[in-house]
């Protein structure tokens, strides 16, 4: 059967993944090819340059911009601490004295004779790059990154918020969610999210959330098309979409199998070109009925739009010619059997997801 699944998200009990951990410039790699790394291990460290602060020294000293360097106590490259005098100017036989101080610890980066500004760069800080996935180091390229290969279980969501987190997966009714990643089969609410956050959860996985609750939790400025940088106190992964949509059976099963295990989760989502979906990575799941699951995986799909959105279905027939949908839009369709009701309906191919 010719199948086209545009908005695919993967749910796999066992798969081999390759992850390249991108390194910041001038990073020192801490691992070697062939080495086995655990998710929390540091694979590289880097000294990241501090931020730059501009001090309008000539204005603050009341001197000409071109002469500012004559009144500075420090020169380019000198270290400086917050509150330390950068320059002084005395006028009227010492009656008027002005001083300019550094706002931060760092070094004097540049002094401009044109603008009269002094640029102070904050001290660098150390950034650790962790493996994020437990596996084998298969490549080290100081320019491109550290490559890790691993056999894992994988659940991709459709939408996420926040960056990478690691912790034990627990169910929503666990009495202690501190430092854990919480999994719920029900539609999330802003109240539940706030409770998990206050209880110290690192992340939450849920099938759906209403748009208003998501904005209520993250703020209305959230850009749905590119996420990952949000600082909302936890990482969130939604597996189905917005509204009240139940979690697909297969997704629910894999997540249940991961409960109590150490997992890694990342909320980064990019809907535009070079699609990135949020993902949850856990240990390989071994089950006796694997064969049946594979069969189910190959024939069952989710309907993601239209009157049957949220339902699971099996493809009965792939119609070769475009059909006119109730909307009037002409599109290629599948004839599918809905798992729950057994009804056969036509669904646009573009609206079916694995």
């Amino acid at each position: 059967m010719d199948k086209v699944f545009s908005p695919a998200t993967l749910v796999l009990e066992k798969t081999r993944i390759i992850r390249v951990r991108k390194l910041p410039p001038d990073a020192a790699v801490q691992v070697t090819p062939g080495q086995v790394a655990r998710a929390a291990d540091v694979v590289a460290t880097a000294s990241v340059p501090g931020q730059v602060h501009s001090v309008a020294a000539s204005d603050m000293l009341g001197v000409a911009k071109s002469k500012v360097v004559d009144y500075l106590l420090l020169k380019e490259g000198d270290p400086v601490t917050a509150g330390q005098a950068l320059g002084e100017h005395t006028a009227l036989l010492g009656l008027v004295k002005s001083q300019v101080v550094s706002p931060v610890d760092g070094i004097v980066e540049t002094v401009s004779r044109v603008s009269g500004h002094v640029m102070i760069r904050e001290n660098p800080h150390v950034e650790n790059v962790r493996a994020f996935v437990s596996g084998q180091i298969t490549g080290v390229d100081e320019k491109n990154g550290v490559t890790i290969e691993a056999e894992v279980s994988l659940v991709q969501g459709v939408f996420g918020v926040g960056g990478e987190v690691m912790g034990t997966l627990c169910l929503f009714d666990d009495t202690d969610v501190q430092g854990k990643i919480v999994c719920t089969k029900d539609t999330l609410t802003v109240g539940a999210l706030n409770r998990f956050k206050e209880a110290g959860a690192k992340g939450v996985v849920a099938p759906s959330i209403s748009g208003s609750d998501l904005y209520g939790f993250c703020g209305a400025h959230l850009n749905l098309a590119a996420t990952g940088d949000e600082d909302v106190g936890l990482t969130l992964m939604i597996t189905e979409g917005f509204g009240q949509i139940p979690m697909a059976r297969r997704t629910r099963q894999v997540l249940l199998d991961c409960v109590g295990k150490h997992i890694s989760m990342c909320g980064i989502t990019q809907v535009r070109a070079g699609v990135i979906r949020p993902e949850l990575i856990g240990p390989v799941i071994q089950r006796e009925d694997d064969k049946m699951d594979d069969d189910q995986a190959n024939t069952e799909f989710k309907i993601v739009r239209g009157p049957f959105a949220g339902e699971e279905a099996r493809i009965v027939e792939t119609l070769a010619t475009p059909q006119v949908l109730p909307s009037g839009v002409k599109a290629l369709v599948y004839r599918v059997r809905l798992v729950q009701s057994g009804d056969e309906v036509l669904v646009a191919r573009a609206n079916v997801a694995r």
Binding site: Q51, V52, S115, M119, V158, S212, L224, V324, S327, G328
Partner: protein, 592 residues
């Protein structure tokens, strides 16, 4: 690369547009002495890995074009067959491109509404996507600006600020900011970032010195030599030259693509601008073109001899659906839904569309939501366009004869001056009913007076823009015969509706001798399915203006359209949304 004489006849042109996802090829040849677009084909653009060579996609599209046209265009060695030999080959091959993200620029200026605005206009006019516009007076702190610049990976930077002979400090500070941020070019560190400096000419040396370790500075004429004067053409042309000489050479396969071509490669949006300009200059048609995509909406206008282009970066039908909702407000989208709806459901539907951008509407309700979203995205994009297309800010306002003061620069763009509206993009091109396309364009743009409504189903305007540089007659012939689909002629009185009052009467004298006439009451929205060319006479009531002046009658020639006349008496701004009327018109169209 020498353009052929315009007197030559019977030339065969092959033109491609390398888009982000698709490379579209068209064949243009003469039929009965008239240039026509005879065949077209498309192939996936191959600028991304693993192919990473744009010419592969171009050759695939041309092979497909050969197959459908029966004209062999590629020889055994993969070269384009030129000149025409028998029934094979073509005389010229040209292309436009927005592949690989097009030309991405960051713009810096001293004052957001003065030098930064002029710099942005120059960059947009050159066909660039302006990823950020940084000004000393924007609301961000210097730290945020440096951080923002670091995150950008532009192909080029345009730095402006200060008037010639004026203060140098501000623009040098901007250069220092840029030097601190050290933005990495999109195509990697090996490539030296070009910075076009088009600010205070006296500060050029200081700016070049500050940036000497960061970028390659190219000094160009100041975009605002005086506050009252704007000269963007030099900067715009320089950007285009640098795009061809440096940026394109870095993109995968573009060096080879340029060798394949018989004319310069032009950024896609710049080519659309060329086409509109040609239309205005040769046919005296003031046109507005809107291309609504998944992420962005491009609006182009050539009105009263002035070309303007804006890109509304976050107004689109899928990736940006949630942003359109945020900008317009839920109520403004709900107002276009014939059956209304609740806010939460609408919010969820549009957010799902954002995260699953390739899904399509299955039900009439879902389609209505998408078309409502399109109206708002287009409306907001036009508002952005009108704001951008203003006279120079920062100049002394003109005092009116009545003693009032000008409240600010007037927009160069007035919808009442537009003769032709062309819509493009999936939601407009592939609407199930042609009338739905007309409804979206009329509701979003609110044309005034008499305006032709058309669509460019396959977005051929870029191809014709580049052809216009070589043969303007051919470009115009293809534009009118094959590019645009004339949908309807909209007649709408200017100004507010006076409900229940007669607005205007009309009479259509068809070229075939048929005569139709009627009267429009304010508030009405009427469809008259007239066929053929003819003369339209409009007689408005006293104080009502249908484009000839208040209370003035007028007659004008109108061309044949697919759907005929739309007589829109809803007033400007709209006194009613007309959703019920549109539904009735759709049903009439389906039945008739």
């Amino acid at each position: 690369m020498e353009a052929m004489s315009q007197n030559d006849t019977g030339r065969v042109f092959v033109i491609t547009d390398c888009g982000s996802t698709t490379t579209k090829a068209i064949l243009i040849e003469q039929i009965d002495g008239v240039y026509r677009q005879t065949y077209r084909s498309e192939a996936a653009t191959t600028v991304e890995a693993p192919v990473a060579d744009v010419t592969v996609g171009v050759r695939r599209a041309l092979l497909d074009l050969s197959a459908v046209s029966g004209r062999r265009l590629i020889d055994e060695s993969g070269d384009i067959i030129r000149p025409v030999s028998g029934s094979d080959g073509c005389d010229m091959y040209m292309t436009t491109s927005s592949a690989g993200g097009g030309l991405q620029m960051v713009v810096l200026g001293l004052v957001k509404t003065i030098s930064a605005a002029s710099a942005e206009k120059a960059a947009l006019g050159a066909g660039a996507i302006v990823t950020d516009c940084i000004a000393c007076d924007d609301t961000r702190s210097m730290l945020e600006q440096v951080e923002r610049l670091r995150r950008q990976r532009p192909d080029m930077v345009l730095l402006a600020g200060g008037t010639d002979g004026g203060q140098q400090v501000g623009v040098v500070e901007l250069a220092e900011l840029l030097a601190l941020a050290e933005p990495v070019p999109r195509f990697g560190e090996r490539y030296e970032l070009p910075v076009v400096y088009a600010g205070n000419s006296d500060a050029a040396a200081a700016v070049s010195k500050v940036l000497s370790h960061t970028a390659r500075v190219i000094v160009e004429k100041n975009v605002r030599p005086l506050v009252e004067t704007e000269t963007i053409s030099h900067a715009r042309d320089r950007i285009h030259t640098l795009f061809l000489e440096h940026v394109m050479q870095q993109a995968p396969g573009f060096g080879a693509l340029m060798d394949l071509c018989d004319a310069d490669v032009v950024p896609t949006p710049a080519a659309v601008g060329k086409m509109l300009q040609l239309l205005g200059e040769k046919k005296s048609v003031d046109a507005l073109c809107a291309d609504i995509g998944g992420a962005t909406t491009d609006v182009f206008s050539f009105v009263n001899g002035k070309f303007n282009r804006t890109v509304s970066a976050n107004l689109g039908m899928s990736y940006s659906a949630a942003f359109v909702l945020k900008e317009s407000g839920i109520a403004n989208i709900l107002r276009w839904l014939p059956k209304g709806g609740d806010e939460d459901t609408l919010l969820n539907q549009l957010m799902n569309k954002t995260i699953r951008p390739t899904t399509i509407p299955e039900t009439l309700e879902e389609l209505a939501v998408e078309q409502a979203l399109a109206r708002e995205a287009l409306r907001l994009s036009l508002a952005h366009h009108a704001t951008f297309a203003t006279g120079l800010k920062g100049t002394v306002g003109e005092r009116n004869i009545d003693g009032g003061f000008s409240t600010g620069p007037k927009s160069d763009f007035q919808i009442r001056d537009v003769d032709l509206i062309v819509g493009s993009g999936g939601v407009l091109s592939h609407a199930p009913l042609q009338m739905q396309t007309v409804a979206m364009l009329v509701d979003a743009f609110l044309p005034e007076g008499v305006t032709a409504i058309a669509k460019d189903s396959i977005f051929m305007m870029p191809h014709l823009g580049i052809l216009g540089d070589i043969d303007d007659t051919a470009a115009l012939e293809v534009f009118f015969n094959d590019c645009i689909v004339p949908l309807a002629t909209c007649v709408a009185p200017l100004g507010k509706a006076i409900p229940g009052r007669r607005a205007f009467s009309w009479r259509f004298d068809g070229a075939d001798g048929t005569v139709s006439s009627g009267t429009v009451i304010f508030g009405e929205l009427i469809h008259e399915p007239l066929k053929g060319d003819g003369r339209l006479t409009l007689a408005p009531q006293r104080h009502v203006d249908v484009g000839f002046g208040a209370g003035c009658n007028g007659t004008l020639q109108i061309d044949d359209t697919l759907l005929g006349l739309i007589l829109d008496g809803r007033g400007r701004p709209l006194a009613s949304m007309g959703t019920g009327e549109w539904q009735r018109i759709y049903e009439e169209c389906q039945n008739g």
